[in-house]
């Protein structure tokens, strides 16, 4: 893992890199949730053995960065929710970037691409082999 990260211009210290990782996971959890989450709620949704204080630190850092908003729920703890891209400008520009011109898309590295309908059965079968129960829409049972 260390070797793959050498020679990049991004966060230098290993600690900051790890913190950045957790930040993305926490933010994603908030996006995936349908309602604001307290730190405990985030901890549960993450499904990872993390310290409560770690989660709180990450959430407040995200709040400082303007990525999440918070409100006091009826409890003592804050409830956090992600800040929506108000004007949708970023989304629009992304779409323009992708739809117009092949080469621009080539600068991005997509997680999955060029899927054919024939891949559906093969991927579903692979999931079964991996021992994961799938719902009709391919979603897992009991996800966070």
């Amino acid at each position: 893992m260390g070797r793959a990260q050498m020679g990049r211009a991004r966060p230098v210290s290993r600690q900051r890199a790890a913190a950045g990782t957790l930040e993305s996971e926490v933010l994603a959890v908030l996006w995936a949730a349908d309602a604001p989450l307290t730190p405990r709620g985030v901890l549960q949704a993450l499904g990872r053995p993390l310290a409560y204080t770690t989660v709180m630190t990450i959430l407040s850092r995200l709040h400082d960065k303007g990525a999440v908003g918070r409100s006091r729920s009826d409890g003592v703890a804050y409830a956090y929710s992600p800040v929506l891209d108000a004007a949708g400008l970023a989304a629009q520009r992304m779409r323009v970037l992708l739809d117009r011109g092949n080469d621009r898309a080539a600068v991005l590295s997509r997680f999955v691409q060029d899927l054919a309908d024939t891949d559906d059965a093969a991927l579903a079968e692979a999931l079964r082999r991996l021992g994961v129960h799938t719902g009709a829409d391919g979603s897992a049972a009991g996800r966070g």
Partner: protein, 315 residues
Amino acid sequence: MQVDVYAPVLLSLLLGLFAGPVGRRLPPRTAVHVIVPAAVSAAVCWLWALALLVWTAIGQLSYVAGQGHWSRTALHADDPVAGPIAWTAGVALAGAAAVFVTVTARRVRAVWVTRRLAAELCRTHPQELVVLTDDTPQAYALPGRRGHIVVSTAMVKALDPGERRVLFAHERAHLDGRHHLWLTAAQLAGAADPLLARLPATVHYLLERWADETAAEQVADRRLAAQALCRAGLATLRTGASRPIGVALAFPAGQVRARVNALIDDPVPTRWLLIALIALVVLLAAAAAVDAGRDAEHLFELAMRAYRASGGTAS
């Protein structure tokens, strides 16, 4: 020179044919580090060989021979390259230059546009993750000064937390490893050398595999990584998101399936013999190219001597 000048052609041919199979027999990170430099070397040698061929033909034009003070007839007599071949090389060289310039220009514009977008994102999003409200499952890495991972809400919701970890680790691997630079190098080599036309697609696949392997290492669970790929693929297919979004390179279908299978299998070991073989072939081709250059130089020297011996009468 007769043989030497064609060695780069042979290298390009071999690389073009075997890059795929070779790439599958090495760990993806190693494969990229071996194949891309080999491809760039092959492209450079190819252009050099073409240039030599063209030069021996141009040198026989009376105007050029007059300017250069060498004997046209001597050059023609000693020239081991037949006229038609040399002129074909000229056409190929001109073609290669045109394609190269076009691809480079398009690439530069593409990079510039994404850089501007990335810079804007850096301002508005001090965190790594950018989530867009979109019903289409999407996830990609956007290289830039800080680098961002862009994901749609549909993709976020399609994956469970563990699978999302894999996704983020995968995209981060692309950013940390500067994969877009490797791909650009491969594309430029493929643009300059038509025998390497399919190489960029192979390199792209290997870069995805490299990111897959890095992600699997980071989450310490290859099966989870495979699972994440399956889930993302199915989500993309089932929400009818297969609208053509435009890809620059033509991939064979089944790329995702191949990646899933590769993650389910054990990691590929480093085959040092294979690496040594490739390095050897590249070195031989480079040596042959240098040798061809020296032969060409010698050829012109003889022609110049003949010119001087005949007292400066160009013939």
